[in-house]
């Protein structure tokens, strides 16, 4: 069965002065699949994600999402179309409680915010979905904790909860396990496993355990170029990939 | 609308533009490197004027009414004042957020103005045009005041000097690097603190030069720094923050548009609309011109005309 990809990138190019950070990249994500992007530091993974999210404008190429050409769309517009992004460095609202953080995410997709008199906290349309998202990532008991008082690992969970609360069709996850302990990473892997199938997911990760546990397909990025793309088993055995990247990490796999 | 009136106003505009450039250069560099805007920059302009006027009127080493001595006192006074200010108070503000920087330098302005008021009083402190420059020079067949022409020459000289310094020397390279990526320059082992103190001092000295040259033609009085400071802010925003080149072009553009506009806009309006309306609208619109220019530039290019590319 060939379903149309949720996200499709063709010939994406991004240059910074003399440096080509994204070199004619083709990439797509099918509905319900986890497509991981791996590569050594400096490969241009975050640059790629930023272009997908709309924070950077590519110099050439085309980005299609859910049938629309979104190459020229603004960041908020892409989110409203169903593109959800989580950040490598948690971008949360430190002064708000976990619940308030996720409520804002829900609010963004729950109609107009030109409401001046009614307290947002009274709106079950906001609080219920927010509480659900927090429950899903495992922060249910920490709803009323102020974000600045939470641990790093909890920030990563909150980060994901916020992205999920925007009810996206596609998740762009930028190193969700960054900075997490072994135990925390295992929980996160289990969580993303539960999300598989419900969402199309593009996952950037360094953690090879996670990548091979979750990915349906893996794309390998080196110096901005795609050097391999395929099923995990094929990537594991691809000589070019071993050369450029996996090299001495073979034991870990 | 006579030719000679136009040329005179154009030259006045260029002269005003160079004064703005002198102030803008220091301010934009410090902002570009330390992300710090010193609103009390106008106070340094004012103090330069006061130091020079005081030295001119009271004399130093027994010599009175020497413009060179007055200029020397004005420049070194501002430089020293700038360095002292930077080392004591301002260093602590670099890490603070912009609101704190604004408020602290606002407090400084109040203090400086009152100190000036206390020492020299409320009325304008008179500094006359030096005798040697009281005449006129011949430009394109028109007699133009020598003193104002000197300002243009000094301004152009400083601009060329800065161009040479920034483009052709190692210090200039450090400055350009710092404007592009300050933490990196620090990480490379350059004493960024010293560089910044020097830069700040030089910026203060330039403001002092602007002040002491402006003294004889504008009036030296408490609070003289703020109106021109705000125009300088318009200049650096229009030119592009951190960019000397931007400051240069924007300063000249702003200086010329403001000066020529104030004189010719009412005249032009009188041609196309009835007299009393032109009388009312002319000065009003003329006073808005430079802000409208800034708004238009920002609407099209929010980073300014010649922005610095950030590393």
């Amino acid at each position: 069965m060939s379903a149309a990809p949720v996200l499709s990138i063709k010939g994406l190019v991004k240059r910074f002065g003399g440096l080509t950070a994204t070199d004619h990249v083709d990439f797509d994500v099918l509905p319900g699949e986890v497509h991981a992007i791996i590569g050594p530091n400096g490969a241009g993974k975050t640059t790629l994600i930023s272009q997908l999210a709309g924070e950077l404008r590519p110099d050439a190429g085309r980005i299609e999402f859910d049938g629309h050409d979104i190459s020229a769309e603004s960041v908020p517009a892409r989110s409203m179309l169903g593109l959800g992004r989580s950040y490598q460095i948690s971008q949360i609202f430190r002064e708000f409680t976990a619940l308030e953080n996720v409520m804002l995410a829900v609010q963004a997709h729950a109609g107009s915010s030109f409401s001046f008199l009614r307290p947002a906290i009274d709106e079950t349309a906001l609080t219920l979905p927010a509480a659900e998202a927090l429950e899903l990532v495992g922060l249910g008991a920490r709803q009323h904790e102020v974000a600045s008082a939470m641990a790093h690992g909890e920030h990563r969970q909150l980060e994901l909860a916020m992205t999920l609360a925007t009810a996206p069709k596609l998740l762009l996850l930028d190193e969700p396990m960054a900075g997490m302990s072994q135990a925390e990473s295992e929980s996160m892997i289990a969580l993303i496993k539960r999300l598989k199938g419900r969402y199309a997911i593009a996952l950037v990760e360094h953690d090879m355990d996670a990548v091979f546990a979750l990915a349906d397909r893996i794309t390998v990025l080196v110096y901005g170029k795609v050097i391999a793309c395929g099923a995990p088993a094929d990537i594991r055995n691809d000589p070019a990939v071993k050369d450029a990247y996996l090299g001495d990490q073979e034991e870990a796999i | 609308m006579t030719w000679s009136l136009f040329v005179v106003q154009l030259l006045n505009g260029i002269q005003y533009g160079f004064l703005l450039f002198l102030m803008a250069a220091g301010l934009t560099l410090v902002f570009g490197i330390m992300s710090f805007v010193n609103l009390a920059h106008g106070s340094l302009y004012m103090m330069g004027a006061y130091f020079a006027a005081w030295a001119f009127n009271n004399g130093l080493f027994g010599i009175k009414e020497s413009f060179l001595i007055a200029a020397f006192v004005g420049v070194t006074g501002s430089f020293v004042l700038g360095v002292v200010l930077e080392r004591t108070l301002l260093t602590g503000l670099y890490a603070r957020d912009h609101l704190d920087q604004v408020l602290a330098t606002f407090g400084l302005i109040l203090v400086f103005n009152e100190v000036a008021r206390y020492i020299w009083g409320v009325s304008p402190y008179y500094m006359q045009v030096p005798k040697a420059l009281e005449g006129t020079v011949d430009i394109l067949g028109i007699a133009y005041p020598s003193y104002r022409f000197m300002i243009i020459l000094v301004g152009a000289g400083v601009a060329l000097g800065m161009y040479w310094l920034i483009q052709k020397t190692r210090i200039g390279m450090l400055i350009r690097a710092g404007a592009s990526n300050a933490p990196m320059v620090g990480a490379l082992g350059v004493n960024i603190k010293l560089l910044n103190t020097l830069l700040f001092g030089v910026g203060a000295a330039l403001a002092g030069v602007a002040g002491l040259m402006a003294g004889p033609i504008l009036s030296v009085q408490p609070g003289m720094g703020e109106p021109i400071l705000i125009v300088v802010l318009v200049v650096i925003v229009t030119g592009g923050i951190g960019s000397i080149r931007g400051a240069f072009y924007a300063a000249l553009i702003v200086g010329v548009i403001d000066t020529v506009g104030r004189v010719f806009l009412p005249i032009m309006l009188r041609e196309i609309m009835e007299r009393s309306l032109a009388q009312a609208a002319g000065p009003a619109i003329a006073s808005l011109l430079i802000y409208l220019v800034m708004a238009v530039v920002l609407a099209i290019k929010p980073e300014g005309l010649f922005p610095v590319k950030n590393g």
Partner: protein, 342 residues
């Protein structure tokens, strides 16, 4: 949950005292107190207005005095043209304020950080010069208001009536803003201050909300300006001077920008300090009065610098809740968007 908005007992106490001032003034035969506190409340109103976007929205506008001028001159110009109805004055003031705020906000809010601060300052200066150039309406000298705005059902000619009008405006604004801060709109505003990048990524078209907040803030300031012209019976370009914009920010920080009511406390302290310093005679040594009475601005300047370097939460912020005030005052840089660089 943000407890900022449950009115602390101090806030209620202060409002009660303010409401009682005219009574006290009458009993003590000191009508001056009514004018003094009218002025204090007007600046409290302006400061509360600015704090909506500054303290809660992270937009440091150094040009809000511009809107004081708009309100004042709407009353002044219309009165000069023979229109004395207060309703007309207010309508014109709000309409003009809306147009200016939309225009200035639309241009300024495309920038962030220090550039935003400089641009707002520049536009306010533009307003100052614009008003000075209106020779038909007083120009540099300002425009007297021979009679106060006429509202028909009540007369502002009575200082006490004007006092209570100002009080009602202040109370109403505080109430409205307390609702606004906790509403959806308020969360967007506060979220944008905290992390604008994330707000955009969540799908919020942040610009239009910031513009709306800017306009609301400006319009309340316009009302304050209208009241000021009525109080002093004068419209002056000096209302739009950069010093005034700076003073309003000092008032906010002094009282505590993390709270709604802080600016009210700030206004009381700041203006009373101004009043006291300009007539203080401590007699410590000969000539000290002269220095203090004529140069009290320098003392205010020093005071501001000290406050900035030490008491970041402000006086009211300290009283209401150290941790909470600190959280709001330090949470996110106060420059627009939460990032320090332009």
């Amino acid at each position: 949950m943000l407890k900022t908005l449950k009115p602390a007992w101090i806030a209620i106490l202060v409002m009660v005292v303010l409401a009682a001032i005219p009574i006290y003034a009458a009993l003590a035969s000191q009508p001056f107190y009514v004018t003094l506190f009218s002025r204090i409340m007007i600046f409290a109103l302006a400061a509360v207005a600015l704090n909506l976007i500054l303290g809660f929205g992270g937009m440091v506008s150094l040009g809000h005095a511009f809107y004081l001028g708009v309100g004042a001159y709407a009353a002044g110009i219309l009165t000069a043209e023979g229109i004395t109805s207060g309703w007309a004055h207010l309508a014109a003031a709000l309409a003009a304020g809306l147009v200016f705020a939309l225009a200035i906000g639309a241009v300024s809010l495309r920038t962030h950080g220090m550039i935003f601060i400089m641009i707002t300052l520049a536009f306010a200066q533009m307003g100052y010069f614009l008003v000075v150039s209106l020779k038909n309406y007083g120009g540099d000298d300002g425009l007297p208001l021979p009679t106060r705005s006429d509202f028909g059902i009540f007369s502002l000619a009575n200082n006490t009536v004007l006092y209570y009008l100002i009080f009602v405006c202040l109370a109403a604004t505080l109430w409205f803003f307390s609702r606004l801060i906790e509403s959806r709109f308020g969360y967007v505003l506060r979220g944008a201050k905290s992390n604008e990048r994330r707000m955009l990524a969540l799908g919020f078209p942040v610009f239009r909300y910031k513009l709306a907040a800017y306009v609301i803030s400006a319009l309340v300031c316009v009302v304050a300006g209208f009241l000021l012209a009525n109080l002093t019976k004068f419209s002056s370009p000096s209302y739009m001077a950069w010093v005034v914009s700076g003073d309003i920010i000092v008032i906010i920080v002094l009282g505590g920008m993390g709270t709604l009511f802080g600016p009210v406390v700030g206004a009381i302290v700041f203006l009373l300090l101004e009043e006291l310093l300009s007539s203080w005679k401590p007699g410590w040594f000969p000539g000290i009065e002269e220095v203090i009475n004529k140069h009290w601005l320098a003392l205010i300047g020093v005071f501001v610098i000290v406050v900035i370097l030490t008491a970041k939460q402000g006086l009211y912020g300290q009283l209401v809740g150290g941790r909470l005030g600190k959280r709001m005052a330090n949470g996110g840089a106060a420059s627009s968007g939460g990032t320090r660089h332009a």
